[in-house]
Symmetry: D2
Subunit: 346 residues, 4 copies
């Protein structure tokens, strides 16, 4: 793709300059390994400043690790996770939850990637049946894989449902920053305040080199997590570099600046494409992604200049493409894409 303009994923962007600067800064002298350094201590403080005093964060290398080890801390293998069909844990982690937690994923009904509490109820009816995996966690994505966002009310409903039914509440927040930017709310308000027990808090897709944080708000669940992280291949020795990135990310709300930038570009793209005959929007554009149906020919033509993902191919409905923006995208780039799509009129 090297000569193509990428709208494939926000992970096609690099580091934000302030993140890189933090790495340079952290590279001075020796430092204790495995998290006993001062950057990690400061990072933990910064997380508590953002998420409240109950927050206990642990950095891991990537989003799959953040989700799977969050689940590992909440579940034994005979228990199950309720999630949307579109959940990253269900579709995009090569069966890691099943392999590493050993748990079953139970697909709850969802609309535009979002789950409603009442649709989870039937899964709880057979809860005492020893032949069925026992539902123990509700896992949602905020923002969802379709770019949609749960409102605080929707989150509060799900949190109350979990408490009522003895479920742990997990949030895949690989794009929590984008959701917070979209809702114009603090990170805290759409995670711990809604009763989330364990949060996978993304960094990579929004300006880090690598790194996600698993944040425990439920003290009991996090108690053994140091060993779980180590055993599951996620304890990085030069932790100072991971923590330094996150420090830069939280400082002066860099996460918000980046997320807003990315969201704005998706909004611009959607605006530009509004009313264009050959484009059919599949999902409301709320964060940094536009899903649109285009004709097969249009897609082929666009692929000559742009790199993006295809989510579904259908003779009847056209091809569903994912056009994702990153904090590095410029208005010019987005307008260039919009122009190209407009030109695809057959």
């Amino acid at each position: 793709m090297n000569n193509l303009m990428s709208f494939a994923s926000d992970n096609n962007a690099g580091m934000h300059p302030r993140v890189l600067e933090a790495l340079v800064h952290a590279n001075r002298g020796m430092a204790p390994s495995y998290g006993a350094d001062e950057y990690t201590a400061a990072f933990e403080e910064a997380v508590r400043a953002a998420f409240g005093p109950s927050a206990r964060p642990w950095i891991v290398a990537n989003g799959t690790a953040a989700n799977v080890l969050a689940l590992k801390s909440m579940l034994r293998s005979h228990e199950a996770v309720l999630c949307a069909n579109s959940a990253h844990i269900n579709t995009s982690e090569c069966g890691a939850a099943e392999a590493i937690v050993g748990c079953k994923l139970l697909v709850a009904p969802s609309f535009q990637g979002k789950i409603k509490a009442e649709d989870c109820l039937p899964f709880l009816e057979q809860r005492e049946n020893v032949h069925r995996a026992h539902p123990k966690v509700l896992s949602i994505s905020q923002a969802t894989e379709w770019g949609t966002v749960y409102t605080p009310e929707e989150l509060a409903n799900l949190g109350a449902f979990c408490r009522e039914h003895g479920l742990y509440f997990h949030m895949d927040g690989a794009r929590l920053a984008n959701a917070a930017a979209a809702l114009n709310l603090p990170l805290k308000a759409i995670s711990v305040d809604a009763g989330v027990d364990v949060l996978s808090f993304g960094g990579t897709k929004n300006g880090l080199l690598a790194g996600e944080a698993i944040i425990f708000f439920n003290e009991t669940l996090g108690r053994e997590f140091g060993r779980i992280r180590k055993q599951h291949l996620q304890l990085l020795s030069k932790m100072r570099f991971m923590s330094a990135q996150f420090l830069a990310y939280l400082k002066d709300d860099l996460w918000l600046e980046n997320a807003r930038a990315a969201n704005r570009m998706a909004a611009l793209l959607a605006e530009e494409l509004e009313g264009v005959e050959q484009v059919c929007f599949e999902y409301p554009v709320q964060t940094n992604v536009v899903f649109a149906r285009l004709s097969k020919n249009a897609v082929a033509k666009l692929q000559e200049r742009f790199y993006f993902l295809i989510r579904e191919t259908s003779e009847a409905k056209g091809t569903l493409v994912r056009l994702m923006t990153a904090f590095t995208n410029t208005e010019e780039e987005v307008r260039g894409l919009a122009d190209a799509i407009r030109d695809c009129k057959e």
Copy 2:
């Protein structure tokens, strides 16, 4: 430890400036994720230049991941690994091999961390007994956890033994660079040339931010490794940064420069301590670590100024300390430590 001088581990050092530079360089523009970028392609070429055309490398985040996923590619859960008691997989990975591969580790006799083929033979006698885990891999560390180094002849013997008995040959090369520097041999000569099937090739301890490479020399074993890496939480999205580090590491033999520097500092420390009455060397100093027995009082006094690891506490024999050097250590620092030890005379 922040006010202490660290001789705790080579992972207390940061990045080499040329590695940091490579990160800066790689941060330009967008790039495809998950290894489809040009840095990764160049890295793969560089590995083949160093290790020969059969080498197929995959980057993972840390040494535990490199070892455990190497084993995962070679073993099913009913099979077993022969290794030394001191092996990192046995003592320092929180049981990750057992948890993630499901395999049994069988501890073969070793001397100074090194295994001899003939001592492995008894483990093969019960190989057809269905009640026993079936030995399938021999895993050695080069350099060993005690800083010792297998000679090419010793490696060739082990390689021949593996071929003769249908064992796969795994090498934990977290410090392969230090071993190569010690032996004054190319990386290739002490790995693939000895019949190693899968190598864990370290980078973090020798100047990278993070990253180790699993290198397959046995084509069949590596065939499914893309999925194994993804499922086991080790596929980093912004792979260009991982690959760029390794490119810098292999370019102009930076790995060798760093390893030589670290080894030289350990040699200097050993030299300085030679003949010092209160110091008893426990292992030959061949790479970048000195193991010495000191009195309890000496250790306590040293800990006021230096940070290092204690490996064993014994009333009778004294305390076994590990003094490890990194590529960043200066002669002055090492002499300072030696002076301090000399001053501990009671």
Copy 3:
């Protein structure tokens, strides 16, 4: 339920007298353990007589073990199984496949419990995507959990599809005997002849005390199975008793006699209920089970005298009940149940 007449499951019946007799016979003297006895040798011969010379059988304790270990022999954790939503491995084994194989189950569309090859095709499109679990096995149930039966043509189609696409073909034959009886075909014709690689061949539900056989028709897949069975808790020491049961089961086609008896009773029940206004059949009655929709009141009344399973409760459609017959049921018992249902008219 002890005062209730059971139509809950065929596993509510005991042993056939000839199976019990075989246990008595096998209880003479000492015998080598773990399958080195003469009963086991004779059992293996009997399986080859029934299924052809490629058959390699291994006895395990129950149906869940038979299915899960069959899958274990065919899959690594990053691979996936295509199965129907109703598959026993998906609904009734407490997530054992996920926990023990680590694999993902992908639910293929099905009708009346049966899968068509063309509906599996979409799952193969993303086969090279490293983020998805890699489909490697098609698993079907013969007879299905809804009591329906694949015809030889349907099986041949699926077998050809598997070969064409590099899938292994697994058959959950917990009730293979009932399917063979229904189709009036030999066991062989509806398993190995259709290209099945590994068969879970049921015994318990059709007259044994306990015991199912995993039969490999694919030599490579079975090669390591002795260790897989042992490690996964299924190697019984006094194997002679397991083998002796199966010998009696295969001798003089006792399996067929029992299956025919059970099927006949379900057919009788269906016949008796035909045209009864308050009964709505949900699935064609082909083996030893009748699924019917009854009103909530009717169900409550029946539960006073009969023990049976409820599969779904729906205000709109009524309650879906499973009425299953065993080889021990008498015509009188079945007529008694039919009379009771008829009397439930509101």
Copy 4:
């Protein structure tokens, strides 16, 4: 071996006639499956009568399952088990604990198969080191694999040690009956009274067709065990037959009668061989097994008439053979073996 007299294992014996009788009795009529039957209820009562009111038993198919699932209930994968080198879980279960629990086994020093508390202490020193698997269970065998027996005082010491250090106490009681018979103490006195949390209580080796019981004395540990048993392939559908066997086994102390018979035969064998020049006893004969060193020639000659296991072959010390007796052995058989050994004089 079919023409050889077996002293290979107590599992070469069949069922006791009263166990067979119980199967015949349990085969009347239909019964609910999966343990909802009256035999299972009565069995649970009988266990509480024998082991006290805290006992919660669950039947599984074999001894490996009993041990591994007991450990599964007590451990997460990042925790470890302290056990003797000779422990069945360590040597004879094909790595099942590692594969199914994912835990590490740490081999504690032992003498004649028995562990002392003080020898476990060093393993607890590194307990807070996140790189090490965390010791959480002490597992001992009563009787041991060498036929030796812990005294009540030794057990009490170990129990106190476990409580003091927050370890769970597991007992592999595959031959608990033989130990109780040897000590002339009730089952309770050498298990729950010593602080055992979870007991694997053997039946198969002492007169059952198949079946072992996992007995929880620690209520918390057993709470989820129904699902653990089901998921790990050990929930037998026709449970009445398993429970009926154990009922017969506990009734009128059949377990004791059988264990005494087997022990008596080993004592007789030891008595007969006492002072025989070419026999060197390796372990004190306390239960139903004699370990003796014989010359290579003697072993070869004996193998013409007898079937037994060889535990070690050594040029210097001779061959270590295991001669195990079962409840079915007669004095004549044992004297025949003793005569044959005596005749092996060179």
